[in-house]
């Protein structure tokens, strides 16, 4: 397959590495258990999960890009504040965009859109990667982390929405005799599901804590 050939050569470049660390090795949720507040809260519906994932990806990628572009101009003492200003700019963009084009999703997500600002993934990527690396690689790193996070949101929603509401993306999925597991739509179900995912992933990856 010619496509795979291209990928193999591409595999040794720094760009590829920057993109992929966030997708698997340093996956924000499994390895670092970061940014799970909004993840648990909004994944009871697939459309919310997608909106949240894409929003976070956009914010992570562009805030990493901008932090990296200004990395020589940001004084070390106030860097946290600088990250926050940059991040909140993009979060405001996402919030306005959702309000304008997807008012229903914006309504159900409520405060969680604004809370992307305090999602530790964004701050973490800025501090760990973007402040030390060039704009292009930081952008890819942010993109990779955002996509890894989106993937996790989809994994959560794909179980919670059918079990909790009997639907997927708002369309009925389960047979008529199905009784909804209400617990999956609220907090306890989210906690149990993430616990189970962490267990499975960490057993496979052999990354354990003491």
């Amino acid at each position: 397959m010619p496509k795979k050939q291209v990928k193999r050569n591409f595999k040794h470049t720094k760009s590829y590495k920057a993109l992929v660390t966030g997708l698997w090795q340093d996956h924000p949720t499994f390895c670092m258990v970061l940014g799970i507040c909004s993840m648990l809260a909004i994944t009871n519906k697939m459309d919310n999960a997608l909106a949240m994932g894409l929003g976070v990806t956009f914010c992570t990628a562009f805030s990493s890009l901008f932090v990296s572009m200004f990395r020589n101009a940001i004084p070390a003492r106030v860097r946290m504040l600088a990250y926050m200003v940059i991040i909140s700019t993009f979060v405001i963009c996402v919030d306005r965009f959702l309000k304008a084009y997807f008012p229903a999703i914006s309504e159900t997500m409520g405060p969680y859109v604004g809370l992307i600002i305090t999602n530790c993934i964004l701050m973490g990527r800025a501090e760990v990667y973007a402040i030390k690396n060039g704009p292009w690689f930081s952008f890819l790193d942010g993109l990779g982390c955002g996509l890894g996070y989106t993937f996790m949101l989809i994994l959560m929603a794909i179980i919670r929405e059918p079990l909790g509401f009997g639907t997927i993306l708002g369309k009925p999925l389960m047979p008529a005799f199905w009784v909804n597991w209400v617990v999956m739509t609220i907090a306890p179900g989210a906690f149990f599901l993430l616990g189970a995912y962490l267990w499975i992933f960490r057993t496979i990856a052999k990354k354990t804590e003491t």
Partner: protein, 197 residues
């Protein structure tokens, strides 16, 4: 404007609307800092203090400055800057005037800036249109509820060491999630106790 009774609001935000176990916010420190009972208490107290203080600062800023100027769009950015600045200021004040507190209290302050519940309280206060008194009680209750949850979690996790033998992959964050799930069930028992949506 919301017409909720401030005192009921306080109780509701601690028990029926617990921010950690119903809204699932403030999870990063909830997992990381809940290993030790004493540390959890220190973190809980610092959060109560910072959340109440920042909500009291942000309310007038939103309603007296942003709304008259019609720049509510900037509210997220202003809120987070105010939070970061308040935390930084508190840190310096404690270092200067109350050095004994530094060891038990000061180390948590930098972590609080990125704790989602500080920002969440400010956003909820705007969404639910609370007045100033309600905001004070709401922020106090919310942060106290979070502190209660993290202290309970730390106490359970300390006892867990005595039980031993958790599957390897489940140790750390995994088991914390499972315990949090059971705690969330327990807190669901409070639902309907307080007549407030």
């Amino acid at each position: 404007m919301s017409t909720a009774n401030p005192f009921l609001l306080l109780l509701a935000s601690i028990f029926t609307q617990n921010i950690a176990l119903v809204y699932i916010l403030g999870m990063c420190p909830f997992i990381v800092i809940s290993k030790n009972f004493k540390t959890a208490v220190g973190m809980g107290v610092s959060v109560i203090f910072v959340v109440t203080l920042t909500a009291m600062i942000n309310w007038p800023i939103y309603y007296k400055i942003l709304v008259p100027l019609k720049v509510e769009i900037l509210s997220f950015m202003i809120f987070i800057i105010v939070i970061a600045a308040t935390v930084q200021l508190l840190e310096m004040l404690i270092e200067k005037f109350f050095p004994p507190l530094q060891a038990s209290f000061g180390i948590f302050l930098p972590l609080i800036t990125v704790n989602c519940i500080v920002l969440a309280v400010c956003i909820f206060m705007v969404l639910k249109q609370y007045n100033f008194i309600q905001t004070v009680f709401y922020s106090l209750g919310t942060s106290a509820g979070w502190a209660l949850a993290i202290v309970l979690m730390a106490a359970i996790k300390e006892k867990l060491l005595l039980v031993g033998d958790i599957p390897k992959g489940l140790r750390g964050a995994g088991i914390t999630m499972i315990i949090a799930g059971f705690m969330a069930f327990a807190f669901m028992g409070f639902a309907g106790m307080i007549p407030l949506q």
